[in-house]
């Protein structure tokens, strides 16, 4: 048994879950900021980004060390490659949270009007995708990861609906363009969060089954 190596793999997994927690929290806070228009929460999101970036580098370094020093094979090799990719996706989720926080801050300069888009609902759906993909990662459950893909279709539809509703509003009431555009970008940011969750689910499937399902590909491994 390669005890030390397997302890290091456990440590890598734990670090990634800490990263996941930080990215999830950043998204939740950014949506809370949107809902309440509380600019102090926007600042919290912006201040959390350096910590996420720092942890991303630490996880990459740990993964790189394991690749170089332990020459992992098969499921261990796939696990480490998956962790590297999931790590990058979580960092991008953190970036989306920052983007949302910046938009909310800009929206603060305008009246808080009722827009024809349910951003909290879209955010809840995108966050649920991230949670489910990470739960699949925690449990090594490829079937659970499969279910994330269906949720992505729903998020895409909600984003499309937001696009049409907000672009119509801009045509009808040009004076609401700033708020509408910011909401449109936030909707797009959340749709991207859903895409990152999809990537994470694909990486879980690659780790567990050894199948590359990205871009609707026939499994290549």
């Amino acid at each position: 048994m390669r005890v030390k190596f397997h302890q290091s793999l456990d440590e890598l997994k734990e670090r990634l879950l800490v990263m996941a927690g930080m990215a999830e929290q950043a998204i939740q806070r950014s949506i809370e900021a949107y809902r309440t228009r509380d600019l102090s929460i926007c600042e919290l999101v912006l201040h959390s980004e350096p910590a996420i970036n720092r942890l991303e580098r630490e996880i990459d370094q740990l993964a790189l060390d394991l690749l170089a020093m332990e020459q992992p094979m098969a499921i261990d090799l796939r696990f480490i490659l998956s962790v590297i990719r999931i790590n990058a996706d979580l960092e991008r989720v953190g970036d989306q949270a920052v983007n949302i926080a910046i938009r909310v801050r800009e929206m603060g300069a305008f009246a808080n009007i009722d827009l024809p888009v349910d951003i909290p609902k879209l955010a809840e759906m995108a966050s649920a995708m991230v949670r489910k993909a990470l739960q699949a990662f925690i449990e090594g459950d490829a079937e659970m990861a499969d279910s994330v893909f269906l949720m992505d279709d729903q998020v895409d539809k909600m984003n499309d609906a937001a696009y049409y509703a907000l672009s119509s509003l801009i045509k009808e009431k040009p004076e609401l363009t700033p708020q509408s555009l910011n909401a449109l970008i936030i909707s797009r940011n959340l749709e991207r969060v859903g895409d990152h969750a999809t990537n994470i689910a694909e990486d879980v499937i690659f780790w567990v089954r050894g199948a590359d399902v990205r871009h609707n590909a026939t499994p290549a491994v």
Partner: protein, 252 residues
């Protein structure tokens, strides 16, 4: 050129110990095939069955079919003929210590009755070039003994000796395990080059080495061939849990 090896229902025993059980596989011609598995799993016994060395032990026996190309080596060929067609390189270099480099390389040919000086000279040059040793020893062929070379050079000389008899198959039983990393890379480069001309079967405990040099890999465990597949498949996503446990170090 190399020939394919077809193994059907191969069983081998040392006394009452059933060391190989119902082995079936096809080793393709002009490829390198790696055999991996824990110590005592039967991989070396398997290799020794491919050139009929297994039967040199008085308590050993084997049943089944091993076909080298079209020839059933246990029924249609003598052990001497088979060992000419199948070269072997061992874990530790085994030069004949009192012989010069030249005589080491041609020892197999001389045993087979070749005496023509021109042919022997040509064979020495060709074999040492194939073994990537020519440039290092060409000026000392008859001056230096084989044993005076470094470990890595000795091993390449032993490979040249195996190649000198123009075999179709080259069996290598952990050929680099006693060598430093530089010598190991030279042996691996050599395997990579030689496989276009010979069928190579390499037993190794170094899984990275198997991954680097072999197109196909077989995993042996407790005398059985658990899995045989492309090296890529074995090292990225093996079919059998036992293979995965072994290569990821979750074994035992």
């Amino acid at each position: 050129m190399g020939v394919g090896i077809l193994v059907e229902d191969l069983n081998a025993w040392y006394g009452s110990n059933h060391t190989l059980q119902d082995i079936n596989l096809h080793i393709p011609a002009n490829h390198a095939t790696a055999l991996i598995g824990p110590s005592g799993c039967g991989k070396s016994t398997f290799v020794r069955c491919l050139n009929r060395m297994h039967e040199t032990n008085p308590i050993a026996r084997a049943t089944g079919v091993v076909k080298m190309g079209e020839v059933d080596i246990y029924r249609e060929a003598s052990p001497v003929e088979i060992r000419r067609r199948v070269g072997m390189v061992f874990q530790r270099p085994n030069p004949f210590p009192t012989m010069s480099i030249y005589d080491n390389v041609v020892s197999g040919l001389k045993l087979n009755g070749f005496r023509n000086r021109r042919i022997l000279d040509e064979t020495v040059e060709r074999s040492l070039k194939q073994a990537a040793l020519w440039e290092e020893v060409k000026d000392d062929l008859k001056k230096k003994s084989g044993a005076s070379l470094s470990g890595g050079q000795q091993q390449r000389m032993c490979i040249a000796r195996a190649l000198a008899v123009d075999p179709e198959v080259l069996l290598m039983d952990e050929p680099a395990s006693a060598l430093d990393p530089v010598s190991t890379s030279k042996i691996e480069d050599l395997i990579f080059q030689l496989k276009s001309q010979y069928t190579i079967v390499i037993v190794t405990h170094n899984m990275q080495q198997a991954a680097r040099v072999a197109e196909n890999t077989g995993f042996f465990l407790n005398g059985k061939l658990v899995e045989f597949d492309s090296t890529h498949k074995i090292f990225t996503n093996p079919h059998d849990k036992r293979t995965e446990d072994y290569i990821t170090g979750r074994f035992g």
